[in-house]
Point group: C2
C-alpha cells in the first residue's frame, strides 16, 4: 500500500512555518500499520496542485493532503481536486446546515465565502469538522483514495483521529508495524555500528534497524512488520535482549524516547522529586518535564531567574558570589540549585546559568558559555559547556536536554 | 531557478521527528532570493534515493538534500549520488587529514567507517564541516547543482551559513524576495478576505498575499519579488499603508511575527517589566518570552508552581482560597499573578492554572479547563478557556499564546 502525504501552502516552502502536520499524520498512520512512502510540500498554486495529483496518483494508493481548504483566494485544494477528477463542485446540504447553525450560534452572518465551504466535488464525502468551518474531504476513485484535511493543526488532528483513522481501519485490513527504541550514551555512531555489525547481519527479514545520532547519544530504532502483532513484539523483545549485553553500561533505555520521559520514569520509580532554577534556559527544562503527562508526581516546579535580582531575592544567591564570580559561573549555578531545592522543598534540583546569545552576557562572558548544577542536599555537581556555534533556540534546547541527562546520570549513580 | 529540498531518512516518514531542517533551509534561501518549489521527504533506501535524483534532476536547477551522510549502513545518500552520477567514490585527502587530526585530538582510533567519511564522488567538492565528521558535498553537473548536507540540525545549519549560502550567492545573480507580515485579531478569515477583496485585485503583479489563520488571529503575508530591493520594500510599504485603514483597530502589528516579539517590543518601548506564574503551562510562557533575544530587558523571571505546595509556599496563594475554590479557579489564578508580581518585583504579571490532560486534575476539573490572570498592581483581570479537543502539547502552547495575547491587550488598553 503506497501512501503519500502532500502539504499544500507556500508558508512551508518559504520556511515561515515548520510542517508538523506530516509527522503527526505519519505517526498515527504508522500505529495502524500504514507506512508513508513520501512526504511532499508544494505551493498553493492551482496548476501545481493539479499536476501533483496527476503524477502522484499513478504511484499511490492513498494520498492525504493538508492545507488549502480555507475560504480565501489562496485556498485552491478543492478546485484543483475537481479539475484533477474532471468533476464539478456541488452543494452538500448537510454541511450547509451545519454552517448555518454554527454561524447562527456565533451570531455572525453566513457570507458567500463561508457558504462555499459546503461545496464538495461530486461523489466526494464530507468529513465533519466540528472545530472549524470547512469539512475534510474523502474521495475514492479507480481503487484509490484521496483525503483532504485542514492545514490548521488542531482541526486536522481532530479530523484524523475521529474520522480518518477509523475509516481507514474499516476499509483496509492492515499489517502491523511496531517500533522499539533504545537509547545509548557516549557511544560514537561508527563505533556502535561496528559493535553491532554481526548482530545487524543476522536480523530477521521483517526487522530493520536505524541509527539516529544526537549529540552525545545515539538512538537505535528497531522496526518490525507482519500480520501477527504479538509475534512481532516477541521478535523485537528478542533482539533487544541480544542488544543489552552488546551495549553494556552505555545503554540508557530500552523502552522510551525522550530524556524527560526516561528521567521521569526513574524519578517516579525511586519516589524522588525535582525542581529547576533556570537562567539561560528560561523555563525550557520545566517545559520539557511538564510535557510528560503525570509529571506532577515528581516535578514540583521551577524558578526562572532571568534577572539577577531574582537570583538574589528569590533563589538566595549571595551578592558576594555574583560579584566575585559573575552570574555565569560554577558558584552561582551551585547556589541557584541549592536555592531552588530549599525553596521548593524537593529532593533533587538542577540549575542553568549561561549566555544564549546572540549578544554577549552582561558580564562579558562569551556566547555559548553555560554552567549546569545538579544534585541533592548532600552533593551538588556542576558541568560547564561551550556551544558557540549553536543558535539561540538550539542552544537553549541542547542545554535543557543535557541538564536532564546529567540529573539522570546523577540519580543512577547515587540512588540505584 | 527551480529549487528542491529532499529530506532523506525514515525517521521523518514514520513521524518520529519533525522535519525542521527544510524550514530552516527554505528560510535562508529565501533571504538570498531563492524560492523553494517543492520539499520532499523520502526513505533512506538506496533505490528510492537514486530514482528520486533521476526524476527530480530533470525539473530542478538546485537540489539540496539533508540526511544519510553518516557512517552507518542506513546512510546511503553518498552511494546513491554516485550511482546517479555514474561515478565512483574517491578519497579526499584534505578531508582524511582533517579526520585524522580530529580523532587524534579526541584520542580515539580512526576506524574504517570513519575513514570512509572522507570518500567523495569523483568531481564533487567537500564542504568542510568542523562540527562533525562527514563533510557536506557540492556537485555540479550538466548545469545543475546538487548539495548534500547533514541531517543533524546544528551541523547542517553551520554548513548552510558558512559554506552553502556564500557559494550560492557567488555562483548565481539572484532576484530579491521580501516578505512583510501583518497580524490581525478577531477578524474571521472569510470576513477579512471580503474586506480585502478589492485591494487584493489591484495588487501589482510582483506582489502576492497569503492568509495564515491561527485560532483568534490571521496573519497576512505580503511577498514582493524583483531586481531592486529598495523598490520592492517601498512597494510593500505602500501596500501596508493601504491595509492599515482597511484593518482598523483589529490590526495588531505591521512588522513582526510572534506574540512574544510583538509584546516584547511594546514592553521595551513602555519600559515595563513582566513575570509569570505558571501551573498548567509549566514554563512555556517563560520559554516563549526568553526565546526572543534581548528579553532580559523586560522579562525578570517566572515561578513554575506545578505542585500545590509551591503555589502556597512560594507564590503565597492562601490555603483557604484553594480549599474554597480548588486550584483550577479564577481566584487562585489571581493570587498566583499577584504573588509572582510581588515576589519578582515586576510591573506586570501573568499566571495560568488549568488541566492540560490527558488525566483529569486532582480537583476533578475537566481536561482543557484553564484560568489565566494578568495585570498590574491596580488591576488584575482574568479569562477562562475550555479546550477539550486539544492534545496536551497543543493545549499548553495555545494557553501560553493566549496568555501573552491577553497581556498585550491589557498593556495596549491601560498604558498607551
Amino acid at each position: 500500500m503506497k501512501v503519500r502525504l502532500i502539504t499544500i501552502g507556500d508558508e512551508i516552502l518559504i520556511g515561515q512555518i515548520v510542517d508538523t502536520n506530516s509527522a503527526y499524520i505519519a505517526q498515527h498512520l504508522n500505529k495502524i500499520g500504514l507506512e508513508v512512502d513520501e512526504i511532499l510540500s508544494i505551493k498553493d498554486d492551482f496548476q501545481t496542485i493539479v499536476e501533483t495529483f496527476e503524477r502522484i496518483s499513478k504511484e499511490s494508493d492513498i494520498i492525504i493532503t493538508t492545507g488549502g481548504l480555507g475560504p480565501t483566494k489562496d485556498d485552491k485544494t478543492k478546485h484543483a481536486l475537481c479539475e484533477f477528477l474532471q468533476t464539478e463542485l456541488v452543494m452538500d446540504e448537510a454541511v450547509l446546515n451545519f454552517l448555518e447553525e454554527r454561524y447562527q450560534k456565533l451570531n455572525r452572518p453566513l457570507n458567500e465565502l463561508n457558504r462555499n465551504q459546503a461545496l464538495l466535488p461530486k461523489g466526494s464525502i464530507a468529513l465533519p469538522n466540528p472545530l472549524g468551518t470547512a469539512p475534510g474531504i474523502w474521495t475514492e476513485f479507480d481503487g484509490k483514495l484521496i483525503i483532504n484535511l485542514q492545514g490548521v493543526p488542531f482541526e486536522m488532528k481532530n479530523l484524523l483521529k475521529t474520522e480518518v483513522i477509523p475509516r481507514l481501519q474499516q476499509k483496509f485490513s492492515l499489517p502491523f508495524v511496531i517500533h522499539r527504541f533504545l537509547s545509548v550514551s557516549h557511544f560514537p555512531e561508527s563505533e556502535l555500528a561496528i559493535t553491532l555489525n554481526d548482530w545487524e547481519d543476522h536480523l530477521p527479514n521483517n526487522i530493520s534497524v536505524a541509527y539516529l545520532p544526537e549529540r552525545s547519544k545515539v538512538k537505535l530504532r528497531l522496526t518490525g512488520k507482519g500480520e501477527n502483532k504479538e509475534q512481532i513484539k516477541a521478535q523485537l523483545e528478542q533482539e533487544v535482549q541480544k542488544l543489552i549485553p552488546l551495549l553494556g553500561e552505555r545503554l540508557d533505555s530500552t523502552t522510551k524516547d525522550s530524556i524527560a520521559v526516561i528521567l521521569g520514569d526513574l524519578l517516579r520509580e525511586l519516589k524522588l522529586t525535582i525542581s529547576t532554577a533556570e537562567s539561560c534556559t528560561g523555563g525550557e527544562i520545566a517545559s520539557m518535564l511538564t510535557s510528560v503527562s503525570g509529571s506532577s508526581e515528581y516535578f514540583y516546579g521551577s524558578v526562572v531567574s532571568y534577572a539577577t535580582e531574582v537570583k538574589k531575592n528569590v533563589l538566595n544567591v549571595s551578592e558576594k558570589t555574583i560579584e566575585t564570580h559573575t552570574v555565569v559561573s560554577e558558584e552561582v549555578a551551585k547556589e541557584m540549585a541549592e536555592g531552588v531545592r530549599n525553596l521548593l522543598k524537593t529532593e533533587l534540583s538542577v540549575s542553568t546559568t549561561g549566555v544564549a546569545g546572540p549578544a554577549k552576557g552582561e558580564d562579558g562572558k562569551e556566547v555559548g558559555t553555560v554552567w549546569v548544577a545538579f544534585g541533592n542536599q548532600e552533593i551538588v555537581q556542576t558541568k560547564s559547556y561551550f556551544f558557540p556555534y549553536l543558535e539561540r533556540e538550539d542552544f537553549i534546547a541542547q542545554v535543557a536536554r543535557l541538564a536532564l541527562q546529567n540529573v539522570f546520570e546523577f540519580v543512577k549513580e547515587h540512588y540505584s
